[in-house]
Amino acid sequence: MILLVLLSGNADKIIEKNSLHNDIEIIKVDEKDFYDYKDFLKKLKKRNYHRIYYGCLDIKFQRFIFFMHFFNLLSGMKKGAIIDEKGNRIKILNIKTILFEVPFFIFQFLLGLLVTVIYFFRILYNKWRAKL
């Protein structure tokens, strides 16, 4: 059985454009649900799915791609993909997640910390100016 995690868009269109003809279970989730990673992982492990697809409107505009790779890895799934209403797809491979996505996310996180500090002072300065 295939699991389609519907993040946005129309499930029928996504299924049709990506030619998913097998037995499919669809769960609708919000991007915010990624924060409750334990609950989310439970959903992914609920049945013995042999593949997980994350469906969205348009991959070009999709956020949190790293987390989709990572959840696939944590759920023990070997294969999966991020797919959209236009038929585009990004393959999820655990080896790619370990060797590329995780180190890249660590880099993003460190960069994010730096940005946070810089913007703390930028916002503080602008707050002071706005009050003048």
Binding site: K28, K127, A130
Partner: protein, 396 residues
Amino acid sequence: MAGKIIKKVLILRTDYYGALREGGTVTISLGPVNSLLKKGIECYFQSCGINYFPPQCKYFFVKHSNLLLNLPEIYNLTYTHKAAKTAIRVIKDNNIDLLFQFHSIMNYSGTLIKRKLGLPFVLHVDGVEYWAKQNWGRKLFLKNHLKWAEMIQWDTADIIDVPSVKVKEMIAQYSSVDLGKVLVNPNGVDADKFHPNIDTHNLKRKLLLENKFVLGFFGTFGHWHGVDILAESIKILKNHLNNFIVLFVGDGVMRPQVEEIINKNNLGPFSLLTGMIDYKSIPQYMSLCDVLVSPCVSNPDFDLFNSPVKLFEYMAMGKAIVATDVGQQSEIIINGYNGILCEERSPESLAEAILKFYKNPELMEKCSSNARKDAIEKYSWDNHTQKILDAVEKIL
């Protein structure tokens, strides 16, 4: 009057809406743009998402940083300066007279633009983001950044355009901003697109709705939409009505709960869930319905503060409306005149109001025509934009 002074407007949307083409957040920007274009005002739109505007509106795409797309709070921070930089160039190149920004988290682009160029700055605020993140978000990161960015924008804007009195109260609660510049201006509807004279014969046949009493819900199945309460009310309605169906149009986080209620109680024959449909098709689907329902519920610690676009669309369709007695719905719907109000979170009260319409076709007729009249006279996007232009004229 004001339209003669303001000739060119830059509309800045800085939130991450991605490829979203439908829903309230699209309507609240598309409606005013279409109305401004009708008034002969040139519109320029800058955003980070898909362009859903007519070709007369010049569009500028400014992408969020790909590098930070897994860290939402942080990419919103960096977007402030990126968006401001492009907007300043667009304003200079096109001699734009007015900046209109949709408020979004961690963003103060409007402030940077206003300081650099000095043009009038209208900030549209749908709600206090700090409050929304605290109450609706899973976790609040960088709360000082968020709160301060919001305050910077409120302090700098010449006019803060809010859709309801509740939002004005929220702003007062979270800041010391001069409330004299806060303009309460409900959302609106395009009454030319949403009207009662739509042919639905084929669609009715396709969906097997012929000769049925059709109830409709349209929306994003959010927590505050109360769509689960409507599903619960079917259990009561089936004891009183023979040939009826509830049409659920839309999708969202509450859909699994709705489906569970329907499946658990064998309500399948009385309900139809279409999922998301194109925005263009919505008037036709609304036209299928005899009664349109807005079962919104209050927030846990604040009354419903939004201005429900869907309610105005229902009204413009000239349909009988049942709405819960919460937030702005209580101000817009006059019980027995342009709709029926019912208690929130009460399937019994909701079912009772629907049955009232079913048993009284004259009341239905009266409420439908009054609702259409009110939509045109009070709640059109033309009225909405005119209020903004008038307010801008006063400060020029």
